[in-house]
Amino acid sequence: MTFFLVSSAIKVFVVFNVIMVGVALLTLAERRICAWMQDRLGPNRVGPQGLLQPAADGLKNFLKEETYPAQADRTLFTLAPLISFVPALLTFAVIPFAAPLPTPWGVVPMVVADLPVGFLYILAISSLGVYGIVLAGWSSNNKYSLLGGLRASAQMISYEISMGMSTVAVLLLAGNVTLTRVIAQQQQGGWFIISLTLAFLIFFISALAETNRLPFDLPEAEGELIAGYHTEYSAMKFSMFYIAEYSNMVTASALMATLFFGGWDIPFTHWDDTGDPSVLKTLATLAAFGAKTGFFLFTYIWIRWTLPRFRYDQLMALGWKVLLPLALGYLAVIATAIWYLHAQLGWVYGIPFGLALGAVNLVLVVAVVWWLDRGRIISASTAEVA
């Protein structure tokens, strides 16, 4: 028991700090990568390659003045950044980030809390973050902030559904909601990106919308809403929203890596998930997990600096008219396929099972791309240019 408590406390401390440092570096990465994409250099003055820029920004935010709008609801106004900040960090607790680490006192699973409800916990906590945004918008007593908050909640609700639906397929295959089991299943039968490609695509798009990133950053559309829900915030409270946004990105990326890309699994080898745990295995799998998460974080940034923002009706149309029916239909197809392979043919999940599902997915993806590629979805509401 003592061992559990001590190891958990250490893990909480380390994971919290790694995420905070990661978030800080992510803000720098965002600025530098966007600069490179625009043929600029980006912030490179503070420290080598600008590595201390986040520290300088943080310091600046501590020193800035805290402003309160005259008519704001003081309690909620102060509470809102916290409410969006805390769930963003909480979600990472159930994500396993490396192979178990052997210590002289016993083997430590490399996950802060290996909850039996795993994935359900993530769905529950991650949607709490929207309360922070809505309360921020409402308590600011500013119509633009309020609109931003409303948009955030509407968007969150719309995309939460398709996100949940796309992950049902993962749970069907894994047969368990514990994320360690989801990873173990992928280590045996190949990553779910092969057997559930379309689910990944839906999940990916929904995750972009859930984290309020471009092209779905309607809640803070500066052209329309000044800065949306955080218009009235300054100093560290403003910074909290930023940290929340970026930690949500980290969690979503880690989640994509965990659910569809084998988590900390190193591909093409069973060295990492069989045999006795060792420190080397832990470090190697941690690196693999970091690389996968980093790739998705880069994709986030990459997409942000490529695509323009959706119009509001386009956003809603994409969520409700495209992604939701797609996710539901996909679920029906994939459930049937799994049932057929599992109950009729008596296969258990393994490489052939994954490849068979992969073939189904290939057909579905080709069909969906063909359908989307005809451009009816987004251009439907575009006025015909004479």
């Binding site: 490179w36 043929d39 600029r40 997409i303 600096w305 490529t306 590629d373 451009g375 987004i378 240019v385």
Partner: protein, 168 residues
């Protein structure tokens, strides 16, 4: 070089946003590895495609003769033509009848950097300079006196020549 205007045809019918998105992503990705255009200013003051023009009109400089005296003969043309009224000139005359400025001050805050003083000067004494780094710690340091104007070392502006409008 005239500014080229790129005319793009807008799609009049349904277009594939999927392909447009992917090609856009490829474009932004390829830009990551392209050479950057940023000029890192304090270390780098000119690049291959950007140098300060020789016609730049910056803070003034008074040219001097071989003896190190200001070329100015205190004719009074520059304060006369100055549209911002920023030049203060008090003329003096020595025992040989040579005129020289007793006081010659330019308030660089009032100055609009039109370059008329340089154009009108018969002795080619006062010039606007090819120079832009003028920070000081107090406002009164921006009234340049004669000594300071003579001590400036930056290149002087060539101004615009009507007979050679493109500077060729």
């Amino acid at each position: 070089m005239p500014i080229g205007v790129k005319v793009l045809k807008r799609p009049t019918r349904e277009t594939s946003y999927l392909r447009a998105t992917l090609s856009g992503m490829a474009l932004t990705f390829s830009h990551i590895f392209r050479p950057k255009v940023t000029m890192q200013y304090p270390e780098q003051r000119a690049t291959d495609d950007w140098t300060l023009s020789s016609r730049w009109r910056g803070t003034h400089r008074m040219l001097t003769d071989e003896q190190g005296r200001a070329k100015c003969v205190a004719c009074g043309l520059c304060p006369q033509i100055c549209p911002a009224n920023c030049i203060k000139l008090v003329p003096g005359e020595d025992e040989n009848g040579h005129r020289y400025p007793l006081i010659y001050e330019i308030d660089e805050f009032r100055c609009v950097f039109c370059g008329y003083c340089q154009e009108v000067c018969p002795e080619e004494a006062i010039h606007v300079g090819v120079h832009y780094e003028n920070s000081e710690y107090s406002r009164d340091r921006f009234v340049y006196d004669l000594e300071r104007l003579c001590a400036q070392t930056h290149p002087v502006s060539t101004l615009w020549d009507p007979s050679d409008p493109k500077g060729e």
